[in-house]
């Protein structure tokens, strides 16, 4: 029951205000904003202000001393220029995009396949689907450290399993060629449950008659999926993918815990780069760190706004 109520989309809720008469609106407005006051103050103090501070950081030349005293000189876009000119910029951008898109592609494909599979209601379906949520609910530090040990070069279970089929051990986390692949594998594992659950509820929303009609027309399972299910699932798929993009772009914990962005920056993304600039060195570079962070916000907002547009079109 909770489920049906929850999945109604809130962005459209205030739009339904037409039912109220305009005369009753005035006093209602005051009371409403009294209820909203905490969240508005909260947003200003703990979202807008930190973001403003971050923007300010990115436009000034900070040293540790001026960071504490707050008298750093304004330096315009110098930090951004430095970041763009940095040798790490190209690789970090490439890694961010690779990490995001490869993760999403696999999470979505595997999640969709599993959703279709679990949608054929068999006995254990509900229980096993619930178990699939475990990786998504575990604290990231738990998943990251477990994968680190599984991918250990000498004693990891993954290399042992590869050895059984005659593959030489791979230096998953310590070789620049494999570090990015390793964090992508772990991230795919974490993201499958989200895709599975959302796509599964999307499948449930497709009326059973559609499938029956296609079956009567003699369509095979394969045809039915590509010609009936998949097109009907397109809006939900778009939303799953866009939300996935927003969430994957900002992944930091997993990469930092598994590889710290290394070795030799081989798995550095914007998120880990920004953190390393601001917090990872003895001499923090808050300005460039904030600049990288703001670039990351721009990327996230781009996909975020696309998501909201889609969401709106789906629930006018």
């Amino acid at each position: 029951m909770a489920h049906e109520v929850m999945t109604r989309v809130p962005a459209s809720a205030p739009a339904g205000a037409g039912a109220r008469s305009p005369r009753r609106r005035k006093p209602g407005n005051w009371a409403a904003w009294a209820f909203l006051a905490p969240v508005v103050i909260y947003l200003l103090a703990f979202y807008a202000y930190p973001l403003y501070r971050n923007l300010d950081l990115s436009l000034r030349h900070y040293t540790v001393r001026s960071f504490v005293q707050g008298d750093a000189p304004f330096s315009g876009l110098d930090n951004y220029r430095d970041v763009f000119a940095d040798r790490a910029f190209g690789p970090a951008l490439l890694h961010t995009l690779t990490f995001t898109f490869v993760s999403i592609a696999f999470q979505f494909a595997i999640g969709l396949a599993l959703a279709v599979f679990f949608a054929q209601n068999f006995k254990l379906s509900a229980t096993l689907r619930a178990l699939f949520l475990v990786p998504w609910l575990l604290p990231l530090i738990v998943s990251a450290s477990t994968w680190s040990w599984m991918l250990n070069s000498d004693s990891g279970i993954v290399n042992h399993a590869l050895g059984l089929v005659g593959v030489d051990p791979v230096n998953w986390l310590t070789s620049p060629d494999w570090a990015l692949t390793s964090v992508i594998i772990a991230n795919i594992w974490i993201g499958i449950p989200f895709n599975l659950v959302v796509l599964y509820s999307g499948l449930q929303a497709i009326p059973a008659e559609v499938h029956e009609a296609a079956a009567i027309d003699g369509a095979t399972n394969w045809q039915r999926f590509w010609q009936v299910t998949f097109p009907l699932l397109r809006p939900v798929s778009a939303i799953t993918l866009l939300l996935g993009l927003v969430y994957t772009l900002k992944v930091f914990d997993l990469i930092w815990i598994m590889t710290k962005g290394g070795p030799a920056d081989a798995s550095t993304t914007f998120a880990t780069w920004s953190y390393r600039l601001g917090f990872g060195n003895l001499l923090p570079q808050f300005g460039p760190g904030a600049a990288v962070g703001n670039l990351l916000i721009l990327m996230a907002l781009f996909f975020g706004l696309l998501y909201i547009r889609f969401q709106k079109r789906l629930n006018p």
Binding site: H3, R8, P10, V134, L296, I297
Partner: protein, 270 residues
């Protein structure tokens, strides 16, 4: 019937593959130090040890306590801010409410690492770095937009007649909110609390940036320092990881339907 069994069997295999890392974490947590690097690896924890868990009891209890406290604090703060907001957006529908919902959706998308940097600059000036209230406040930013979203969605499902009846009886809007709306919103309260707790419990970004030098640190930092310091004691690291996973597991067992509701909220429409 046999086809049903085949599907069930296949599903079991998929689930086993998916959950293998979780099994491996548990297995390693019971493995003796001397067997840790043996070849072939010990696939089952026979001839196991409780050394890892002893290390958790000896060393990690304060971290777990801190995390529990931070989690509960985050839940209270999140509920206090998001429930009234949800009521206003769902039922009082003020001018500008749509814009506020939009801002909340956007707020959810801002990467935590960037929030952390802004918080760091502010906390340093205010002197609340490495304090528990500071961390609770930062952790709640993960959950508040989600909370408002859930409460708004849920409360718009409450019939207007119930609210009007209370208003006619002379109850104020605040009274109505407390004694009519909140009791009816139990499901939403549970969902929001679960996720707020889980996110605060799992938080690493804010913990490492804002509480890295604190006296009271959460369990995520406990594990992180373990990995950094004694690389060899993987049974202790994995035992801590197992204990740190308990809240997530409990939630899944006790409140499965709320969890699924939270995952799909905002993503799908029936």
């Amino acid at each position: 019937m046999t086809k049903q069994h085949a599907k069930g069997g296949l599903a079991l295999i998929f689930t086993a593959i998916m959950l293998f890392p979780v099994y491996w974490m548990i297995n390693v947590s019971f493995t003796k130090d001397t067997n840790m690097r043996s070849d072939p690896p010990h696939l089952f924890p026979f001839d196991g040890t409780l050394e890892g868990y002893r290390a958790v009891v000896d060393q990690q209890m304060p971290y777990l306590g801190t995390s529990l406290f931070i989690g509960l604090g985050t839940v209270l703060l999140t509920l206090a801010i998001s429930a009234p907001a949800g009521y206003a957006l769902a039922k009082l529908r003020p001018k500008g409410g749509g814009t506020l919902s939009f801002v909340l959706l956007i707020a959810q998308m801002i990467p935590g690492i960037i929030m952390a940097m802004g918080f760091y600059a502010i906390y340093l000036r205010l002197g609340v770095l490495n304090t528990i209230p500071g961390l609770i406040l930062a952790d709640s930013t993960i959950a508040v937009p989600f909370g408002v979203l859930i409460f708004t969605a849920f409360m718009s499902g409450i019939p207007d007649e119930l609210i009007n009846a209370a208003l006619i009886d002379g109850a104020s809007k605040w009274r109505t909110f407390l004694s009519v709306i909140l009791p009816l919103s139990r499901n939403a309260i549970v969902t929001v609390s679960l996720f707020a707790f889980l996110w605060a419990w799992s938080d690493f970004v804010f913990a490492t940036t804002l509480d890295g030098g604190g006296d009271a640190q959460p369990i995520t930092l406990g594990i992180y320092q373990y990995i950094g310091n004694n690389n060899q004691q993987w049974n202790a690291i994995m035992a801590t990881a197992v204990v740190a996973s308990i809240p997530a597991t409990l939630l899944l067992i006790l409140a499965q339907r709320y969890v699924a509701a939270g995952v799909t909220a905002g993503a799908v429409k029936d």
